[in-house]
Amino acid sequence: MSVVTLVARDELRMMVRNRVAMIGLALLMLLTLTAVLSAWMYQRGVSELRARHAHAAESTFDAQPDRHPHRMVHYGSFIFRPLGPLAAFDPGVDAFTGSSMFLEGHRQNTANFGDVRQSSPLIRFGQLTPAFILQAVAPLLLVFLGYGSLARETERGTLRMLILQGVARGKIVTGKLLALGLVALIAGMPAMIGLAAIAVRQDTPALPVLTIAAGYAAYLALWAVLIVLISAWVRRSRDALLVLVAIWAVSTILLPRAAAGLADAEIPLANRLQTDVAIGRDLRAIGDSHNPDDPHFAAFKRSVLDRYGVSRIEDLPINYKGVVALEGERLTSSLFDHYAAKSFAAQARQNAMVDLAGLLSPAIALRAMSMAAAGTDLDGHRRFLEQAEAYRYALVQRLNSMQAQDVSYLDDMATDPGADRRKRVSAANWQEIPDFRFAAPDGATLTAAALPSLIMVLAWLAVALAMLALVTRKLGLRR
């Protein structure tokens, strides 16, 4: 048996004989299994619920009777963001961003019904997901199992005893690292098995799954290196524990929250009320289609009449009210898009700021990697919002086109008792409108988004290894 293996075996033997360590490890594995199962069941439940509601909303829309198309514009439709399969591993921002959206004309609504808004504040601390356990709980367990790996030997004098047997310092450190690495592997195994099960059962693209596995493996390896590094650097076990717990608290709890808070303070986002007021102000500036003296709509009317070579609205071959609705929706939508783009840009700057904090905390880098690969980050939410808006715009404009094409201007303006019936179009039209289908990103897109953060985690690992190599050279020498 090699010296490295002997040292690793002894370290593991010490952990096995330490009942507290074994109980801690068993509890972590139990917690992870519980998290995997509950997250998977929750994800399945939520997916089914959203699919059921989406189907119900589609059926209700399709079942509408003959109606005036503009009434359907205001009737609107609900859509639901489907949960990706990897959301069971890392739900990311899903609980915070809302999952359903009401689509209607003249308005661009935000997503509603985020779990956090309907739950106790406890959920904000951290949901019991496999990702959270690997990000926050597993490193803490590794700290408690490994803080004394070398500091204890230094403190008790056994390190010198090892060196006196002619064992190179590098081999002692490698043995300790191997032991803690094995513990990290055992600690991470249930979550990885859960990830694999989710991937296989739900036919998930392999690339993001492998990226997540590599990222978490690198993260836990980083903690193992960091723990051995601090344990080699300080001379007393108690000091090693204090330093490591402080590093854990700052990097996994304090910095992620501080970075988000700082980004929010530095790059403030307009709230819903501010945005609505600003949009209302801009809408008034664009013009009022009901005001005959409005310069924009007066010019628009002239251009439509010129295009068809007529002088009166009544002579147009299409319903001018529908044409105005099309133009109005185009204008309001471009305004909504403008504000949405501004909001997305601010969020992107906030995200970039938080991502930069990954240089100070590997936990931040890992979270970014994990959510990006799982498709549950803000980009994933933005993808949903953009597709929802594209669908909303197409739906509303299709209904506006129906009004312009299928309802005559005279009928539309008529107020006689039979006019209401003449304004309606066939219910068959609603069924022809395609339902909203969220186009999930492919594996390569998710992996590419996760790559920068993965590289940051790997860079952390490389730096920690280099520092460990430096500290190893001084191990056991008098300071």
């Binding site: 002894d10 033997r13 008790r156 004098g157 005893m161 006196l164 002619g166 064992v167 008098r478």
Partner: protein, 245 residues
Amino acid sequence: MPNIDPILISDLTLDYGGGDLVLDGLSLAVPAGSITALLGGNGAGKSTTLAALLGFARPRSGAITVCGIDPVMDPDLARRRMAYLPENVALYEHLTAMENAEYLLALSGERVPVAGIEDALAAAALQKRAWHQRLGGFSKGMRQKVAIAVALLREVPVLLLDEPTSGLDPRATADFNQLLIEVRARGAAVLMVTHDLLSAADIADRIAFLEAGRVAYEVAASGAERFDVRGLHARFQLTAERLAA
């Protein structure tokens, strides 16, 4: 290859960075198959001499070799030629006496069968019932015996001892001295730092007195003639008083 002494120190100077020399021109040779006792007052440089031989202290000048290997240049290789028994033995409390011996011997590359370890523990006078007990409840003397067994089992050409009998009762001390004589007979060079002049005079072939980092006085037993303990004691006292002044 010339037949050099397993422990050879020549004109060694060493300081711990403060400028004051802890070793100041120390020269010492311990031939194979001999026991040298190193005596001296506190701060004379005894433990530093051992630290230099073990490669834990870097000399400023001079030469030091263990079986021809410079412990400064290649400490791991030099340590494979040495066994060291410190005054305060550090062993693993989560392991039994047997497991401690097995682990440390395996690390040093020695392949010793279980029966061999049991023989060594018995030779070190550790009670049989303690062999398979964890060291958590061991006394200092019992730990010392485990360390003695490990040191003896390594069968290396150099044995360094730092106050080896400080935790042992008189009977165990006598047993240990007997073991040392066997080690010497095997051809090992033994360097023993001690304050126990009587014990040193009993088994050592040579006694060196250290004073201010150098050998101030060295005396060898010749044949059946042992040391003049009374004279040595007077000399030792004088050295201690001079250092204290």
